[in-house]
């Protein structure tokens, strides 16, 4: 890690948690930096919520270490850890007003009355709920309750804010708006956000770094574009969106050519040429496959195929293309030439060599 980066604020190493025979978190090691917005993405039951609960202190790890701001907090009670949580269904105290919910943490720390009033007021202003201060949680909409939960956590100025699927209960439009608002607030307060979600688009759009978790293991951690475009294995490729996963054999290292299904010869980029001589697994994202009615000139990797099926889904067009024995899914935006294509038509498929991505984690044995 370069010295220009902000310092690490949280480091876990070898963190493991079992429930009976089920290993929820398996030997997790990772560092998180000050001010980062990290999304932990994974299918339900992958251990992402347990990971958050280990950091918060609601669960005790079976093995491993948690270093928060340079000190081990493995055996520290939740109320003595400098982290706060935004719960999935907010867990607002129903018998307290919005103001008293937000002030709860400060009161527990015996903060002076006037400082409580000032800081809780600021937190409510941050989430635009100043006017609702003396309402009860049940009198608020879902989005407002979500903002109270955020203010209640942020007001304590934790080293890390843990967010456990905070947007899952909101409907689509509100969720989109809250995604923007959460990012905006995170930039304003500069606290590290550890945001757990199972929504791929949400994770891709919001995170500085994206950690994909599966069966208790961090499979890949990196900037979202990198994880989307260069996943390390099939699971990540398929979990993050539609994909064509194909098996291929290297043909010729000099011309960087590989063979698909014993028939289709493709040129790939240098970095995507398989390391070994046996078969390798490749990913081609559907949106990387261009369809043309006329054969494109001066391009490599152009094939003739038949458009077997069209699926019209609003802005996008999903197309099944049959090239010899190979069937590929292509995705185009509903504009210009692709929109005019018809099912059954002959089309020319063009795939840029750089878009044929080698998956090192699979089939390279």
């Amino acid at each position: 890690m370069s010295t220009s980066n902000p310092p690490d604020i949280l480091t876990v190493s070898g963190l493991t948690k079992k429930f009976g025979d089920v290993v929820a978190v398996r030997n997790a090691s990772e560092s998180f930096r000050k001010g980062e917005f990290i999304c932990i993405l994974g299918p339900s039951g992958c251990g992402k919520s347990t990971f958050l609960r280990l950091i918060a202190g609601f669960e005790k790890p079976d093995a491993g270490e948690i270093i928060l701001e340079g000190k081990s907090v493995k055996d520290v009670e939740p109320e003595r850890r400098n982290v706060n949580t935004v719960f999935q269904n907010y867990a607002l105290f129903p018998h307290l007003t919005v103001f008293n919910n937000v002030a709860f943490g400060l009161k527990m720390k015996k903060t002076p009355e006037d400082e409580i009033r000032r800081r809780a007021g600021e937190a409510l202003e941050l989430v635009s709920l100043t006017k609702e201060a003396y309402r009860y949680p049940r009198q608020l909409s879902g989005g407002q309750q979500q903002r109270v939960a955020l203010a209640r956590a942020i007001v304590n100025r934790p080293a890390i804010l843990l967010l456990d699927e905070p947007l899952a209960a909101l409907d689509k439009n509100l969720r989109l708006a809250m995604q923007d608002e959460l990012r905006k607030i995170q930039r304003e307060v500069g606290i590290t956000f550890l945001h757990v979600t199972h929504d791929q688009t949400e994770a891709l759009v919001m995170s500085d770094r994206l950690a994909v978790m599966n069966e208790g293991v961090f499979e890949q951690v990196g900037p979202p574009q990198e994880v989307y475009n260069r996943p390390v294995n099939c699971f990540i490729a398929e979990f993050l969106g539609f994909s064509n996963i194909v098996e291929a054999r290297p043909l010729d290292r000099a011309s960087l050519r590989i063979v698909l299904n014993h028939s289709l010869i493709l040129q790939v980029a240098q970095k995507n040429f398989p390391r070994n001589r046996e078969k390798a697994t490749y990913l081609v994202r559907p949106e990387k496959i261009a369809l043309h009615r006329h054969r494109p000139q001066h391009e490599t990797n152009v094939f003739e195929g038949v458009l077997t099926r069209l699926r019209y889904a609003g802005p996008e067009l999903e197309c099944d293309v049959q090239i010899g024995e190979t069937k590929l899914l292509a995705q185009a935006i509903g504009r210009g030439e692709p929109e005019s294509l018809l099912a059954g038509e002959r089309v020319y498929v063009h795939i840029d060599p750089a878009d044929i991505v080698y998956l090192p984690g699979d089939g390279s044995s």
Binding site: E79, T85, Q88, F93, H95, M108, Y136, P137
Partner: protein
């Protein structure tokens, strides 16, 4: 099918319902009417309207019994709450199987016949009872203590009878409690006792209120326990009513006392409804 639409079925059971309203309300109306009549010389009813039965209740002797009933019922409620809340809390925090066993320990004895429960206490508390025998044998006392036929004995008997009605609603309220509220409190820096007092208890108030009313109402009207465990000095209004109907044969005065008891119960219910309404406002979420 809308509710309205289903009223065809309702119509067919409508008569049953009408019959029932009468079935339920008739005793109340009869008692109310009787309370304004008078007792004749030989225990027969004289059909003349009078308020003198209600005036008789103001006699210091009867007033004292009414006040004692109120006091004992309130103490029983308080006593049950003080013991019942920690028990309910403790059970609600247990793991599944243990929780079930302890719940059964609370519930099963409540199936036990009231008579049997009270006789058991008599076995323990009476002059030649288990406690006196044990204390005498141990040489702690020289002659048997008078443990029965006083207010504390009635209080113990009542609390023993009605404690499950306090424990169960509180337990139910604590079970319903969203565990994440406890986690949220800890997360925000509250220790265990702060969490208990500021989050858990306020969230279980509804259970406390239900439990209190379930203990207070039958305790106020109790007559078997004060009859068996209490003496002449520990009579409650229930005994008084029984006495008027059975021994004194003054049915109108007994009816007036019954109306008086029911008014007290109604008052308790109204106070409860008021509290519950206020708590409900903060709990409807």
């Amino acid at each position: 099918m809308s509710k309205k639409d289903f009223q065809n079925v309702s119509l067919t059971v409508g008569p049953a319902l009408a019959f029932l309203s009468v079935f339920f309300l008739a005793p109340l109306v009869i008692i109310l009417l009787y309370s304004f009549l008078s007792r004749g010389a030989y225990g027969e009813i004289e059909f003349t309207f009078s308020l003198k039965n209600y005036a008789s209740i103001l006699d210091p002797l009867y007033l004292a019994i009414l006040l004692r009933s109120l006091k004992l019922a309130l103490l029983t409620t308080l006593f049950s709450l003080l013991i019942g809340y920690p028990v309910a809390l403790s059970i609600s925090q247990m793991a599944g199987k243990r929780q079930f066993i302890f719940l059964m320990l609370v519930i099963i004895p409540s199936w036990m016949n009231l008579l049997i429960k009270n006789y058991a206490w008599m076995v323990i508390l009476r002059r030649q009872g288990l406690l006196n025998t044990a204390l005498l044998t141990a040489g702690v006392i020289d002659e048997p203590l008078s443990l029965m036929f006083n207010e504390p004995a009635v209080l113990i008997g009542l609390a023993h009878t009605y404690l499950p009605f306090m424990v169960l609603p509180i337990y139910a309220a604590l079970e319903r409690l969203d565990r994440r509220l406890i986690e949220a409190a800890r997360d925000l820096g509250a220790n265990r006792w702060q969490t208990l007092w500021r989050i858990i208890f306020p969230q279980s108030i509804a259970g406390v209120l239900v439990g209190s009313i379930l203990v207070f109402v039958p305790a106020l009207g109790a007559f078997i326990t004060p009859d068996l465990l209490g003496g002449a000095n520990s009579l409650m209004v229930g005994n008084l009513i029984q006495n008027q109907f059975f021994q004194a044969r003054d049915w109108p005065f007994g009816s007036a006392l019954a109306i008086c008891l029911m008014s007290m119960v109604l008052l308790a219910l109204l106070i409860y409804a008021r509290f519950a309404g206020r708590v409900g406002e903060e709990r409807v979420l």
